[in-house]
């Protein structure tokens, strides 16, 4: 964990750095356990589901709509634009199998949630 902390500290301004600070746990709690946020070219959907903090792409694979516009309902996200449905469990697409949302690796250190844009 110390290595990770050092790595983030050292490469804070480096655009090639794969880990970025995404949010804090209290941010997540304050926002109904669901946050969407652009970091560089990535629109990220961060949420807590069944006790686990997860992050998937917020870009619907249909036409690019916002998957996390609404709060997750009964374990699924429904894209605002055309109602494509995705599982909160793993981002799999329930409307068209084979078009899952990309999942991101997270590191949680104390209050902070870091995301690996390449992982």
């Amino acid at each position: 964990m110390d290595n990770l902390k050092e790595h983030i500290k050292n490469s804070n301004n480096d655009t090639n750095d794969s880990y970025k600070l995404l949010a804090t746990k209290s941010d997540l709690k304050k926002n109904n356990n669901q946050i969407t946020k652009w970091i560089d070219d990535h629109d990220i959907l961060l949420y807590e589901y069944e006790g686990a903090i997860k992050a998937i792409s917020n870009v619907c694979r249909h036409f690019g709509g916002p998957v996390g516009y609404h709060k997750c309902t009964k374990g699924k996200f429904v894209c605002l634009w055309h109602n494509w449905e995705y599982s909160a469990e793993d981002g799999s697409c329930q409307t068209h199998l084979g078009l899952p949302l990309r999942q991101y690796d997270l590191k949680i250190e104390d209050e902070n949630i870091y995301i690996n844009l390449l992982g």
């Binding site: 070219d41 792409s57 609404h70 055309h82 109602n83 078009l99």
Partner: protein, 216 residues
């Protein structure tokens, strides 16, 4: 009957994206029950061929407390989209949207709403203008972030029914990432039941729905 339309309203708006993005948005029948789920309950394409479609819609105008159904023919003619909407009362509403490019990848949309009927109905002009101005504003407000986002993901290389390739493959952003002009050729491709007997209905119906909005 008078040469001039009995009821008339012209609305103008500008967007920070090319006109083709807005044309895509206007011609996309399926987003009515998604993006505009507070206004539309159901949509169905009864017939479609290239740049025209015959569409059934169940909707509620802002300021009015009830839903009504109607059939509309919608067609694209170059940079103009025409809609002829027959409502359940019997009026024929004609809507014409003109799309024009502005410098710096911006565009202007001019929409005219018109009903030609007996001149006696001219007394309803203030009400007509109030209703359709609020309709234009309500739909514009919901469509604007959709257009801007569509343009943004296009510039990142988004492909329909696929996504952003380098992001999906967990690769770094390609050096010298460039984008092509946005092209729109109707119809909007769909694999949903919008063109089947059942049509499509909105998923969210209000009530305890929690909107978190677009990403910052």
């Amino acid at each position: 009957m008078s040469e001039e339309p009995t009821l008339l309203l012209k609305c103008v708006g500008e967007m920070d994206c090319p006109k083709e993005v807005v044309m895509w948005n206007y011609y996309d029948h399926e987003h009515l029950i998604g993006t505009h789920y507070k206004l539309y309950k159901k949509a169905r394409i009864l017939a479609e061929n290239g740049s025209w479609a015959l569409v059934y819609r169940n909707l509620r105008m802002p300021l009015l407390p009830f839903y009504c159904s109607g059939i509309a023919v919608q067609l694209m003619e170059g940079n103009v989209m025409k809609t002829f909407h027959k409502d359940s009362i019997g009026f024929l509403l004609e809507m014409e949207a003109h799309f024009e490019d502005l410098p710096n990848e911006k565009c202007r949309v001019t929409v005219t709403y018109r009903i030609n009927t007996h001149p006696i109905f001219k007394i309803f002009q203030p009400l007509f203008q109030m209703l359709f101005k609020s309709w234009f504003e309500a739909t514009w407000e919901e469509d604007a972030p959709m257009r801007l986002r569509r343009w943004k993901v296009h510039k990142l290389g988004f492909k329909d029914f696929s996504g952003i390739d380098y992001i999906n493959k967990k690769l770094p952003r390609p050096e010298n990432l460039t984008y092509k002009n946005y092209e729109f050729t109707p119809p909007v491709k769909s694999f949903s039941s919008i063109n089947k007997n059942e049509g499509v209905e909105r998923f969210y119906k209000g009530g305890d729905v929690v909107e978190l909005g677009y990403s910052n």
